[in-house]
Subunit: 357 residues, 2 copies
């Protein structure tokens, strides 16, 4: 079988274990990602539906519920009071980082399954409390790493498992964007350490290459070095307008990353082995493109696998797990390790030391 | 003027100050790079000619001289004895690293101009002696960084000077190759620390992104962190079968690099600024390709500037300097800084510490 045939014949949704049933989601936090990306993703899903939306403003939440034909429109207070709790099975937490925990705590108390945006929370300690409360109330917890359900990423992972790279040698990940051009507000939450957590570029952008590499190579970091700095006035409260970090993964795989919230947009994840190279570029925004180079290939080939909605796949994946009780790949412990890695990157930069994990 | 017009109208050889005269080169060390690349480059040059070849074997050097219609064929001993010294004006030293100094010392004593392959020597101390002896005898010394005369690199440099990137933010450089597939000999000199110097991947490959970035951004490193490791038996005497390093350049520009002599071949140099991105890929082998992405561009564009022979340009550049006495960009002090950077990368990896330069 040629590589092209293999790529074309790849089984979509190899993870799916259920084809009937519906999970009713409550969406918490109605920022643009929730309204413009998550809502349409669930609307087009197979196993999920949105029955409830939750936000700070009664007026806003009622308007969005009405526009999208959603049954329940709750304020945060009403959500915490358990109003309409019979109307949903799971919650999606899409608020700023430091506000994740309080909504997860209520969900767990109410016995609801939880899918929470990444990074899990603002600090390791709060992320640990999230894991504890979900364990205590025996509710499923998943961290929303949308790359795990991207078809290009899943194909890359299977190629790596099948030895396409030979022995993995090194990884480079990049995630840069001009945050202040995208959201022209110097007081936005991503630049406020009380809400974002350890910083902005690693928490919000660097987490993509870190976590996608863990998923692709099935290897975690064991040693970390890092440098970061802030220059622009809007970044004066966070340490990492610019960040670079060097991770040694299990088996001596060497990984370098760059991430910046104040740079021209580009995303790249390149894994080079003794026998080949797999590159995702663009990797983390827009349609993820797979580029392959290896001994069995005369030339570099590129594949686009259509505009698959990663978020639809993710909501269906979690719905599948809620319906069948199958294990969740990106559970709370998986997400917690990213929090420890990110904190270690910040500590490595502050102390100029190598941090062993 | 559009960017495309600017790129097309770029002045080749903006460095050239002389159009007559000829510099007669003696080529020292007849490995494949000298015979297959340097000899034809000089044959096609404007200001240079090869009159002398020097090697260990009388039989080999006479055969190569005869095949290429070259006047003088010398053994190393004959060269050191000053034989046929009136027949050449400059020497090109293309021997393994640890043998550069002895040929430069003789050249300086004979009053010949010197162009020496990079890295300059096996250690900082020997590179310093090279600078001293050339200063003492007042002969021009250039280190052979062929990227400086590549037209794609020179266009990139001018674009950066003209503000195309905005403020430079970060750099990623990669240089990987499967050395044992290219030269299937586990005892080759690049794996012998007595001859190669501090190691193999940073000395031989990592030097490309380091030096090309210094040239493009006109900024040098101020802090260094690094990790390296060897796994394959053939690399047991060198520390850096795999290497990753993180350089902070002047003005807080962050640079990460990967280099490995035991990985699938790929070369990349990507500089990202607040307003745009310039990428060379392939960067260091084959025809260097320039890729641009920026505010003034709707899409990423690529440009190939024909198969310009970087080595011909380099030999003509040095010949031009020898003829006119104009200053040499990559002089001994320029090359010496790379030696200090490479040694610091090795020391940073050994000590797990940040090295300030």
């Amino acid at each position: 079988m040629t590589l092209g045939t293999w790529l074309d014949g790849y089984t979509e949704r190899d993870w799916q274990t259920s084809s009937d049933g519906t999970v009713r989601y409550a969406l918490i936090g109605l920022g643009w990602w929730t309204t413009d990306v998550a809502l349409p993703a669930i609307a087009s899903s197979e196993l999920a539906t949105t029955t409830t939306v939750v936000s700070s403003s009664k007026e806003k939440v009622e308007r969005i519920a009405s526009e999208n034909d959603i049954e329940h429109a709750l304020t945060y207070e009403e959500y915490h009071d358990g109003m309409a709790a019979d109307g949903y099975d799971a919650v999606y937490v899409g608020t700023p980082n430091a506000y994740h925990l309080e909504y997860v705590e209520t969900a767990a108390t109410l016995g609801k399954a939880v899918i929470c945006e990444k990074p899990m929370e603002a600090t390791i300690e709060r992320a640990e409390r999230m894991v504890s409360v979900c364990t205590e109330h025996d509710v499923p917890l998943m961290v929303a790493y949308r790359m795990h359900t991207d078809p290009a990423v899943r194909r890359a992972r299977e190629l790596i498992e099948n030895g396409f790279l030979g022995e993995p040698v090194q990884v480079y990940g990049n995630n840069t964007q001009p945050l202040l051009e995208m959201i022209p507000d110097p007081d936005q939450w991503r630049l406020n350490p009380d809400i974002t957590g350890y910083g902005t570029s690693v928490m919000d952008l660097g987490i993509y290459p870190i976590n996608t590499t863990r998923f692709l190579l099935d290897r975690d970091p064991v040693a970390i070095e890092a440098r970061m700095s802030s220059h622009h006035e809007a970044f004066s409260d966070v340490p990492d307008e610019r960040s670079s970090f060097l991770l040694v993964l299990e088996d001596g795989v060497q990984m370098t990353c760059t991430a910046s919230q104040n740079a021209h947009q580009d995303t790249q994840l390149t894994i080079t082995g003794t026998d080949g190279q797999i590159e995702l570029r663009p990797a983390f925004h827009g349609t993820c493109e797979l580029h392959l180079s290896g001994d069995g290939l005369d030339a570099q080939i590129s594949n686009e696998f259509g505009a698959t909605d990663e978020m639809r796949e993710e909501f269906d994946y979690f719905a599948d797990r809620v319906l069948t009780g199958e294990s969740i790949y990106a559970d709370g412990h998986h997400g917690l390790l990213d929090m420890r890695i990110i904190e270690a990157i910040h500590r490595a930069s502050e102390t100029d030391a190598t941090i062993e994990l």
